[in-house]
Symmetry: C2
Subunit: 352 residues, 2 copies
Amino acid sequence: MPDKVRIALDAMGGDHGAAVVLPGAELSLVRHPDSEFILVGDRAVLDPLLAKLPRLAAASTLIHTDVAIRMDDKPSQALRHGRWKSSMWLTLDAVKKREADVAVSAGNTGALMAMAKFVLKTMPGVARPAIAAVWPTLRGESIVLDVGATIGANARQLIEFALMGEAMARCLWGVERPTVGLLNIGVEEIKGVEQVREAGRLLRDLRLPLEYSGFIEGDDIAKGTVDVVVTEGFTGNIALKTAEGTANQLAHYLKLALNRTFMSRLGALLARGAFDALRERIDPRKHNGGVFLGLNGIVVKSHGGTDALGFAAAIDVAVEMARNDLVAKIAADVAEMNRHIGEARSQQAVEA
Amino acid sequence: MPDKVRIALDAMGGDHGAAVVLPGAELSLVRHPDSEFILVGDRAVLDPLLAKLPRLAAASTLIHTDVAIRMDDKPSQALRHGRWKSSMWLTLDAVKKREADVAVSAGNTGALMAMAKFVLKTMPGVARPAIAAVWPTLRGESIVLDVGATIGANARQLIEFALMGEAMARCLWGVERPTVGLLNIGVEEIKGVEQVREAGRLLRDLRLPLEYSGFIEGDDIAKGTVDVVVTEGFTGNIALKTAEGTANQLAHYLKLALNRTFMSRLGALLARGAFDALRERIDPRKHNGGVFLGLNGIVVKSHGGTDALGFAAAIDVAVEMARNDLVAKIAADVAEMNRHIGEARSQQAVEA
C-alpha cells in the first residue's frame, strides 16, 4: 500500500485536453498532497499551463509527446496511429513500467479500453475486463458494472464482475463484505436469462468475500439496495445512460416549473440554498470516473466533457484505488474463487 | 373503427381490486361517454360499489365470478386455478368472443400475459407478443417496447416490435410515419449485439410504414429522440425500472432539500404551484397502462398498485387503441413486412 500515490495523466485526453486535466490535477493535489504526477503530453501546451500551477509543477514530471488520440478515433485507428507514442499509450505504459500506480484519461472510452488491454493485459484468471461506475443512490453510492466494456457475459464472467466489484467497494468504502446483487427482471415465470440464474446459483454456493443479496431490479439501483450491482455491459450501459437521461429530464422540468410564474420564481429565489444543495447532490462531476477492472493495473476513465472539478473527482477515485491496492485485492479474490470452484468440482467428482 | 368502445374490465385485479377499478372506470367514462363496460368479478363485491356509481352502472353489464387471480400467483398457478373461471380469464374471453373490443386488468403481469397468450393467441406472422410502455419525454411521449414480455429477441422479432410500436404510435398520436430507433450502446468498436445490427440493416432496407432513425442510446429515451424505442424485453424492463428508480430518487432529494431550512420551506410554499405542476408532469398515474401487442386482441395492463385516477388512464389508453383498431393496423403492417421480405428474397434469388 503506497503512501505516495503516483498518477499518470493523459494530459491531452478529453474534449478540453490539458486546459482541464492540469487544473483538475491541481485540485486533487490539494486534497491529496502526497500525490505525484506524471503528465504525458505536448510540452509546448503543458509548460505555459504549468507555469501558472506551481504547486502541480513541483509534484510532476513530464513525458513529452505531440501525438494525441482524437475523441472520435475508433479503437482500431487509435491503436494504429497511437501505439508507442500517443499520450494515451504512454500514460498506460507508465503504469505497465511501474513508474505510476494508476492511469487517468478523459480520452475516448473505446480507444482507452483497447489500448489498456493491449498495454496492461487482462489479469490472469479474469476472462474480460469491465468498466465500473460509481452510482449515487438514496443510501449513498453503489458500484455498477459492467457499464459497457463488452457485450454479454456468461455466468463465470458475471461472478468475476461480482468479485472485481466487491474488491472495488472494499477499496472505496472499507466495507468488509460488500453486498452484491444480480440485475434481473421481475416477471416470475421468466426470471432472467440462464447466465444470470446460473451466476446466482454460483454466488450462493461459493464461499466468496461478499454478501450475495440475490436478484435485484432496475429500480433497486437508485434505492441503493446493494453495494455492488452486477450485469453485462449492454444492459449496464443502457441502464446508466437511461438514468442520466431521466435525471436531466427531471432537472429540466423543475427549471421550467420554477420559471412559470412570478410567485414560483420568488419561491425559487428564497429556496436557492436548497436548489444549490440539490444541484450539488446530483452533480455528475462528483461521480466522475469509470474504473477499468480486470487489467494488470488501474485505469480510471473520466468523462470527456467534464471540467477541472470533474477531472479532479476522477483522480480522487484513482487515488483511493491505488492507495488500497485494488489490483492485488482482485487478484487474491479471483485466485480464491478459482480455488473454491476447483474444490466444488473435486467434491462433485468424489460424490459422483 | 367502432364508435362505441366496449371495454372488458377485470374488476378483481390489482392490489385494491374493485375499489379502484370501478371508480377508475367511472372517471374514464366521463371523458369517453360512449364507452360500454363489461365488469367481470364477484357480484357481492361489485353491486354495492355500483350502487354508488349510477352512471357506470348504466353503461355496464356484469359477468359474475368469485374466482380471482392473486397478485403473487405465478403464471402457471394462475393458469391452473384460474382457467375458464377467473375474472382475469373471463375478461380476456370477452375480447376473444368479440363481446368487448379491449381488455384492461391491473392483475399480475406474468399471469395476465400467460393467460392472454392462451386465450387470444399470438397474431399470425408475429413470433412473440411484447409489452409497450408509454414513456414521458422532453418532447412529449414515446413508446418503448418490449419492457418485459419475453427475454431476448432476434432481428426479425425486433422488426416486429418496431412495426407493432409504430402501429401503436399511429393509434395514439395520429402521426403518419413514426420515427423508430433501436436501443444500443455507443462504444464504437462494439456497437451492439449482432441481432440489433441485423435489425438495423433490415429496417433500413425494407420499405415499412416508419422512419428508421438508426441506433439510439439510453439517454435518448428521456430526450424523446424517436417516437418508438425498440429493444428486447430484458434490457427494456431494466431501462424502465431504472428510470422509475431515478425519478423517485430525485423527487426524494428535492423534498429533502426543500425541507432543510426555514427559507427553503418558505420558498417551497411560494412555489407550490410550480411543484404541483411538476408533480402532475411526472405523475406515474398519468402514464399508466402497458399495452400487450401482437395478440389477436388488445390487452392493457394497469399498474397493480395504482388508484382510480391511474386506472382511468389505463382505460383511456385502451379506448384509443380500440377506437383506432390497433390490431388491424398491426396485422396489415406485419403482412406488408412479410411481403417485402418475400420480395427481397426473390430479388436476391434472381440476382444470385
